[in-house]
Structure formats: C-alpha cells, structure tokens
C-alpha cells in the first residue's frame, strides 16, 4: 500500500471530477449569496408602530422621532448602524454595523430589524 501505486491507479477523469467538484463548491460558497434574491428589508418601528420598511440595498440615512428625540440610522452596503441617538447609554450606537438581526434602543423605543419579513408574521410564541 504505497501512495505511488494509488496515484497511478487514478485516471484523468478522477482528477477532473475532483477538481470540478471542488471548483464548483468553492464558487458556490463565494457566489451563491450574490445570486440569491436577498428579500431582505429593514423595518424600523418606533413605540411599537412600524414607521419604515426600506430595502437594504439602498444606501441612505433615515431619521426617526421617538419619545426621547431623534434617532438617525444609516443604511450602507447591505449593513446598517445607528449614528445618532438621544439615549444616554448609547448602546445602539456601540453595537456598530449589523448585517442581520436587530438593533434596539429601549430608551427611545426604536426597534430596527433586518430580515425576510415574509416569514416574520408567523407567531411561534406569545408570552406575557
């Protein structure tokens, strides 16, 4: 059982198949996100009320008014962050850029979520 004997028993078709598979899967890993429809949108809620539904593709700066004052959200390159908030602990700003998930600013009652909201109206649990 030596490696040379093993290598000589492989055919060109073997090597071709293996390289095609590796190439395909690597390009799949890299490019599949580009091909897929994003379907992602940004929802901004203030005080439990939906005020904005924005596509994440568009770069823009949005300002919303909450009970404490103005919260400014920047959407850029499929990411978003809070750049200005009236709350004093500024946790929402410290959270930085997010690509998915949510940023919540409790003092100003602002909830920003990124996601495919097609599925979000399915309730899994109601508590409280």
């Amino acid at each position: 059982m030596n490696l040379k004997g093993l290598l000589s028993s492989t055919t060109i078709a073997d090597k071709f198949l293996l390289s095609i598979l590796i190439l395909l899967s690597f390009s799949g890993i890299l490019f599949i996100k580009e091909v897929l429809p994003k379907g992602c949108e940004v929802q901004i809620e203030v005080n439990g009320r939906l005020v904005y539904v924005l596509p994440i593709e568009d770069n823009r700066i949005v300002s919303v008014k909450g009970p404490e004052g103005r919260t400014v959200i920047e959407i850029k390159d499929h990411r978003l962050r809070v750049i200005e908030s009236p709350c004093h602990n500024k946790l929402c700003i410290k959270q930085g850029w997010i690509e998915n998930g949510a940023i919540v600013c409790l003092p100003n009652r602002v909830l920003i979520t990124i996601g495919n909201h097609e599925y979000s109206n399915i309730v899994d649990a109601i508590t409280g």
């Binding site: 078709a13 073997d14 598979l21 590796i22 890993i29």
Partner: protein, 167 residues
C-alpha cells in the same frame, strides 16, 4: 444466487451496518452530515461482486442500521435510504456504462455526490421547502462530500487490492 454469494452479502452487510452505526455515534455539526464510511463497503461490493449485491448490501445496511439506531421510518431513515439507493444506482450505472473511465476514487466521488444530491432534494421536498436554505448549504455539503469521497475512495482502493491479493 449461490450460497457463497449469500454468505458474502451477509458478511459485507454486517460490516456496513457496523460502520453506519459507528458513524452515527460521531458528533457532526450538521444533523445529516456523515463521513459516508458505509459507502466504502457498497463500493467494494460493487467492484468485487457486482451491482445487485451492492444494492442488496445497501438496502440491508440502511434498514438494519436505522433499526439499531432507532431512526427507522423517521426523517433520517428516509434521507439515508434515498441517499444510499441513489448513490449505489449512480455508481453502478457509471461502472456499467464506462468501466474504465473512473478508478475506485472517481466512483467513490460519484457515489458521494449523488448521495448528497439525493439527500438535498429529499430534504427540500419533505422537510425544509425553502430553496434558498438548500442552495446556501449545497456547496458546503458538496465540498465536504468531495473530501470524504476521496478519502473513502482511497480506503476502498486499498481494501480491494488487499482482498484481491489474499484471494
């Protein structure tokens, strides 16, 4: 089917069941991700004793191993059965159409690829129904399949050479 063939099939099935059951004990990051060690036995059977024996061994292996593990007729069983049968069919077909084109390693790769394709299709039809989730996971599954397929092919090749030497 001769008596000797029955013994062989029984012995090979026992090996395959043992490998399948052992494999299911190994923790994996994704539930249906497997090393496909049992495919070694399928491939060896296919190359030494032909397509029918390989299919019988695969069916016995999938059914018995799922009974031992406790997944009989469950989702894992359906995925395992679909993957096993499809990969055996694919390997048998390639071997009968172009016997010299691929070596053992190439056949193992084909087996792994078709195993994965069948499982992804079945998972889509039966369980997940979200094409983007399947498409996202497919490249990873196929890449891992290519790696484990190569390793299994090497092992099968060595096994076949040693078996032929002892005979």
């Amino acid at each position: 089917m001769q008596l000797q063939d029955k013994y062989r099939i029984a012995l090979l099935s026992a090996y395959a069941v043992a490998l399948h059951a052992f494999e299911s004990l190994l923790p994996t990051p994704i539930p249906w991700l497997r090393l496909g060690l049992a495919n070694i036995i399928t491939l060896v059977t296919l190359l030494l004793y032909g397509f029918r024996a390989a299919m019988v061994v695969t069916l016995i292996r999938v059914i018995l191993a799922s009974l031992f593990i406790g997944t009989f007729l469950g989702p894992a069983f359906i995925l395992s059965l679909g993957g096993g049968v499809t990969s055996t069919l694919a390997m048998g077909l390639i071997l009968s159409v172009t016997p010299r084109l691929f070596s053992t390693i190439g056949l193992s790769l084909i087996g792994a690829l078709f195993h994965n394709i069948a499982q992804l299709v079945l998972a889509y039809i039966l369980f997940i129904q979200r094409i983007e989730a399947i498409l996202l996971i497919s490249p990873f599954i196929i890449l891992i399949g290519a790696l484990t397929g190569t390793v299994n092919g090497v092992i099968s090749d060595l096994l076949i050479k040693n078996l032929k030497k002892t005979n």
